[in-house]
């Protein structure tokens, strides 16, 4: 518990300068908008956005819950699938040589392009949205896990062999151990991309969720609500990433910066 508190405090100290900067920016923003220098539909005042948040808190909460459900369901499915496939690929050379290059190539694809196809196949409900989140989580996590499993120290592996360890023991005690930072880095990236994929999918399905709310409030010119929905979506992402970063820091205090490839989206 003490360790967690210290980590939190360290974070707070680093955040102070940024908070001052942010506060100055918000004040300036409020100033230019409330004096009418910038029109409200171009940039609504922070107070307008806050007002919309208070007034539409019911709707915002409901749609945020929908987005969170989609993102977390896709995240869980994708992670479980990635772990299962990574184990298989590590142990079968044949499958690995055939499948892995394809998976690497898939990762460079613009996933959001296939959302409309998923909608054609699955309808406008939760299914296509969860599927797209699962696919992007799966590929990011799989690639990072493969790197992590391979990053195991060769000498430790040899030692385990000398000690007559079984394949399962080698996997669990050496490779999985080495892969942990890579896995957590992938989870951090996937958490934020899941919210993005969910939001974009909601633009297209137009059924529920924060993305849907952003779109209809834009169409109906409720600019305050539109900004409020975007702010809530961002807060949701930050919270998810924050939780995973905290797990990272508590589980592996020795790793200052987790390795692994990122994904911008």
């Amino acid at each position: 518990m003490k360790r967690i508190t210290r980590k939190l405090l360290e974070g707070v100290a680093g955040v102070r300068a940024a908070a001052a900067f942010l506060l100055a920016a918000l004040l300036l923003w409020q100033l230019v908008t409330s004096t009418g220098l910038v029109k409200f539909y171009v940039l609504p005042a922070p107070s307008t956005v806050l007002e919309a948040m208070a007034r539409f808190r019911g709707e915002l909460g409901e749609e945020a819950l929908a987005t969170l459900t989609v993102a977390l369901a896709g995240f869980a499915l994708g992670t479980v699938a990635a772990i299962a496939v990574a184990m298989t690929l590590t142990y079968s050379r044949l499958v690995r040589t055939a499948v892995y290059p394809l998976l690497l190539a898939l990762r460079a694809l613009p996933f959001i392009a296939i959302i409309p196809i998923l909608v054609v196949l699955m309808g406008t409900g939760y299914e296509p949205r969860i599927t797209i989140c699962a696919i992007s989580t799966f590929l990011t996590t799989l690639v990072n896990l493969m790197r992590g499993l391979r990053s195991a120290d060769g000498e430790v592996e040899e030692l385990m062999h000398t000690l007559n360890a079984t394949g399962m023991q080698r996997l669990l005690k050496v490779r999985v151990y080495a892969a942990r930072p890579y896995l957590l880095a992938a989870l951090r990236i996937s958490a934020s991309s899941c919210v993005i994929e969910a939001t974009v999918a909601e633009w297209i399905t137009g059924d529920s969720g924060l993305g849907y709310l952003v779109q209809i409030s834009g169409y109906t010119f409720q600019i305050g609500l539109m900004w409020a929905a975007i702010v809530v979506a961002s807060a949701l992402t930050l919270a998810l990433v924050g939780v995973i970063t905290l797990i990272e820091k508590v589980a592996m205090p020795w790793a200052p910066q987790a390795p692994g490839a990122g994904a911008a989206v």
Binding site: A98, P101, A108, P110, Q215, M226, I230, T237
Partner: protein, 251 residues
């Protein structure tokens, strides 16, 4: 090359199985079109498809260039100014976690359905990724070498171009690879919100018109340009850092 053959065989098998499945089950084109139908749609609409692809490519590459240039300049400023770094860098890190694609509706509202909103979104995405990586890369320069440069009375510019930039190259290319796909994603996402042309518009439009074969053709094209952009950056990486070819293979 040898590494590609098993994957290519698998891909061919998947396509053949897909074609066979559609022919045998007689599933409607409105659900799953056969690969041959998609190929036919590509040939039939080639002029339109090329035009829409070029629009998306132009948006993505302009945004990619703009975002990366600004990011590199900012990274240098952050490296040399402690004040800027303390105040702005945590915000940049936070911005990285914000779902930037979600601001696409705001950009379209501001800049209209033209190309500019897409360029800007692509630039934003490329900017955040590259900035964070470049700051790390510039800081990764060997301290001993920097000290030696200092002893030799090297100017800051020399220090930057001879020591820090070469050290940052691997970091830069990591972010360029991510940014290349991200820029295309950004362009397509902003086109979904509001556009008159481009692949995202085409995908949205063909779905609305239930032109399923053309929809799949457009999605396949998006996939191809995503891969091509990534491949191009990998090639540039090999050219810029020939000493790291082995490492590049792995990524």
């Amino acid at each position: 090359m040898r590494r590609v053959i098993p994957a290519a065989l698998l891909l061919a098998a998947v396509l053949a199985g897909w074609e066979l499945y559609v022919t045998l089950t007689g599933v409607s084109v409105l659900v799953v079109p056969p690969p041959s139908g998609i190929a036919a749609a590509i040939v039939e609409n080639r002029a339109d498809l090329v035009h829409q692809t070029l629009v998306t490519l132009a948006e993505a590459s302009l945004g990619f260039l703009l975002g990366n240039l600004v990011a590199i300049v900012c990274a240098v400023a952050f490296t040399y100014s402690g004040l800027l770094r303390a105040g702005a860098y945590p915000l940049v890190l936070a911005m990285q976690a914000v779902p930037l694609v979600a601001i696409a509706p705001i950009l379209v509202l501001w800049l209209g359905p033209g190309i500019l909103s897409k360029v800007l979104l692509a630039a934003f995405l490329a900017y955040t990724v590259t900035l964070v990586n470049m700051v790390r890369g510039l800081a990764s320069a060997d301290a001993g070498t920097l000290e030696l440069m200092h002893t030799l009375n090297a100017s800051r510019w020399q220090q930057l171009t001879r020591v820090r930039f070469p050290a940052a190259l691997p970091y830069l290319f990591t972010s360029l690879k991510l940014g290349a796909s991200a820029a295309i994603v950004a362009a397509i996402a902003a086109e979904y919100i509001g556009a008159l042309e481009g692949l995202g518009y085409l995908i949205h439009d063909t779905r609305a018109r239930l032109d399923n074969e053309y929809l799949w053709a457009a999605v396949a094209t998006a996939a191809v340009i995503g891969l091509a952009a990534f491949g191009l950056v990998v090639l540039a990486e090999r050219w810029a850092m020939p000493w790291r070819r082995e490492a590049v293979e792995e990524t």
